[in-house]
């Protein structure tokens, strides 16, 4: 990670899941800032920053961990917004969700999702997946925002 630290944007409506994800990612040695949003509207506000006025975050390198089942919108909307934005289209988006429907997965990749992970619905699988995600994040490269 070259100079500017990457911010991890966690968009997940279940606070417990968010906390467990954060803890396990930290245990894997990832120390980047993790910003957590529990709904789509506030996450979009943060990413595009127009209304919030805190434009500083807008052009910092980002990595998005995205749940598709959000209370106010589907994660697909957020994914589409990010991937169609001139500045943010190279931002890696990891979809982390419970849906294992084939068509849904295809749709996500069509929209430009970088990685699609199905949250295992059993605890053991879930814990393992999160640990592996943490290890993955610790080695992956994120492009500078243009």
């Amino acid at each position: 990670m070259n100079g500017v630290p990457v911010t991890i944007l966690l968009i997940e409506d279940d606070p417990g899941h968010a906390r467990l994800i954060e803890k396990n990612v930290r245990r894997a040695g990832v120390s980047n800032q993790i910003v957590h949003f529990m709904d789509g509207t506030s996450a979009l506000k943060h990413i595009f920053g127009q209304e919030s006025g805190t434009g500083s975050a807008a052009h910092a390198p980002l990595l998005v961990l995205l749940d598709l089942n959000l209370p106010d919108m589907t994660g697909l909307d957020i994914l589409a917004r990010i991937k169609s934005d001139e500045h943010l289209k190279r931002t890696p988006v990891i979809v982390l969700t419970t849906t294992d429907d084939r068509l849904e997965i295809q749709k996500c990749y069509d929209l430009g999702c970088n990685v699609y992970i199905t949250k295992p619905v059993d605890y053991e699988g879930f814990a393992t997946a999160i640990r592996q995600l943490g290890l993955f994040l610790s080695v992956m490269q994120v492009p500078e925002p243009t």
């Binding site: 279940d14 417990g16 899941h17 467990l20 803890k23 419970t98 429907d101 068509l103 949250k119 619905v121 059993d122 605890y123 879930f126 814990a127």
Partner: protein, 521 residues
């Protein structure tokens, strides 16, 4: 079913209207026509016979008339011969006399029976006979005188006018006789004429009767044809009604089937969503319990260090909490959550199975059961159990679903054997009313009759809980069998054994894809 009922009522009504071909008046006219025709025919025959008889009688009367004339003529011829002989004295003139005198008795004899029935005629004949006899006697006497040469005596006899009177009497009597006979003949012909007129009248009446009959019959046929047409029309209406009913019924069946499919899909979706949404908090509970456990272990280690450093620093309460209460609570939480996890997992598996796309293929069930038996061979050998597979009908169905059904049933049969009794598991099959019926029979511990339905419910188990399980297998089997369009039943006697009977649709000529309807959600 109520939708079906109006149609048979229509048919009954249609049949009822076809009965009255003719009105009562029509039937009366028919009867009168027939009676008239019979009377006309009968009396025509009778009149014809009578006329024939009358003609015969008339012919006989004519003969009588001729006979009377012949008699008169014979008497005159006899007189002519006598006159000739008296004038000439030659025997040749006597020839007519002799012939006539020979004929006369025959002619009289011929008349006798004819006049017998008529007293007046008999009386006339009675008067005639002595006159003729006297006339002939007179003639013969004159001839005898002449032959004896007594010409004067002969002429004197003629001169007495005795012969002349006799001849006049004969003419008078025979004329009266002839008149009588002519009157009789005329009466006969009059009667014949009368009967002829009656015959004409009768024939006219017969013709009228025929016309009437023809009219009645034509009218009856028209009415009958009209009634037939009406019946046919009503039948057509009834048929259309039936067809409409059929269409309605089919539509109802289709609607209900669609409703059922929809309800089934909704249940599948519900199960899927519930299991997912229950899973999310459960993952948190399990996750944070793990966190708690890790934290508790750190705490435990710290307490142990403190305890070894300065014994008695920890109160008994704290020591108990760290050493026993917290680990015990965590143990129970973990046991319960993992049980809940398994149950939710089972629901999820069931709903996944319900959502899976079924692919029909031809299955040799003997081979399928054989390979399932091979997978449990080890278990069977351990429990000293024999698996016997009989002749089985083939299926055209989803292989995985079928394997899961029979795998579960075979597994159950081996799991719930009666301890201490060598097991026998028998698998047989037959085709029955469009269904392939498979029987999996064991001699295991059996199921109490009150549990025969319950065992198919999710998370429900029966009998002694010595074998671990979640109560999922048979629920899964029943869901699969239903999805394949079949049904499953259980026959069992406690301590004797169990028969599971699986009915699955027998293959039709063309495999259908009707069961792959809930392909996607």
């Amino acid at each position: 079913m109520s939708a079906l009922e109006p149609a048979p009522r229509n048919i009954r009504r249609a049949r009822g209207s076809g009965v009255g071909v003719l009105s009562p008046i029509g039937y009366l006219a028919l009867a009168v026509g027939i009676v008239v025709l019979v009377l006309v025919a009968g009396s025509s025959v009778w009149l014809s016979v009578r006329n024939h008889e009358a003609l015969d009688a008339a012919a006989r009367e004519r003969d009588v008339l001729f006979t009377i004339e012949e008699l008169t003529a014979s008497v005159e011829r006899a007189e002519t011969g006598q006159r000739g002989f008296l004038l000439t004295g030659r025997d040749a003139y006597l020839e007519p006399f002799h012939r006539a005198t020979q004929q006369i008795p025959g002619l009289i004899a011929k008349l006798e029976p004819e006049v017998e029935a008529d007293p007046a005629a008999s009386r006339l004949l009675g008067e005639l006979k002595p006159v003729i006899a006297d006339k002939l006697t007179e003639l013969r006497q004159t001839i005898d005188f002449a032959k004896a040469g007594k010409h004067d005596a002969a002429l004197a006899l003629v001169g007495t006018d005795r012969g002349q009177k006799d001849t006049q009497a004969i003419r008078s009597i025979t004329r009266r006789m002839a008149q009588r006979e002519q009157a009789v003949v005329a009466a006969q012909f009059e009667a014949i004429n009368d009967r002829g007129r009656v015959l004409v009248l009768m024939d006219t009446a017969g013709l009228a009767g025929l016309v009437l009959l023809a009219g009645v019959i034509a009218f009856g046929i028209r009415r009958y044809v009209a009634a037939l047409r009406a019946t046919q029309a009503e039948l057509e209406v009834a048929n259309r009604g039936l067809e409409a009913n059929n269409v309605d019924l089919e539509r109802i069946v289709q609607t209900r089937t669609a409703d059922l499919v929809e309800a089934n899909e909704e249940i599948q979706r519900f199960a899927y969503i519930v299991s997912h949404d229950l899973r999310a908090p459960l993952v948190n509970i399990m996750g944070f319990t793990s966190e708690l456990e890790t934290a508790a272990k750190s705490l435990g280690r710290f307490a142990a260090e403190v305890d070894t450093g300065t014994p008695g620093a920890l109160s008994g309460e704290v020591a108990a909490a760290v050493d026993e209460d917290i680990p015990e609570a965590i143990r129970f939480i973990k046991a319960s959550t993992s049980k809940m996890d398994r149950l939710i997992g089972a629901i999820l598996a069931l709903s996944r199975e319900g959502r899976r796309v079924l692919t029909d293929e031809r299955l040799d069930m003997k081979a399928v059961l054989g390979s399932i038996a091979d997978t449990v061979r080890h278990q069977a050998t351990d429990s000293n159990t024999e698996i016997k597979i009989g002749e089985l009908p083939g299926l055209v169905m989803d292989r995985i679903a079928v394997e899961q059904i029979f795998g579960n049933l075979l597994d159950n049969a081996l799991k719930y054997l009666k301890p201490g009794r060598p097991g026998v598991v028998r698998i047989d099959g037959r085709v029955e009313g469009g269904f392939a019926v498979f029987e999996i029979e064991d001699n295991g511990r059996g199921i109490a009759s009150r549990d025969h339905e319950r065992i198919f419910d999710l998370f429900r188990r029966a009998g002694d809980q010595s074998v671990p399980g979640e109560g999922i297998g048979l629920a899964h089997v029943r869901a699969l069998v239903r999805r394949l369009g079949g049904k499953i039943e259980c026959d069992s006697v406690l301590d004797q054994g169990t028969v599971f009977r699986v009915h699955l649709p027998a293959p039709v000529r063309q495999p259908t894809n009707r069961r792959s309807r809930n392909v996607t959600v």
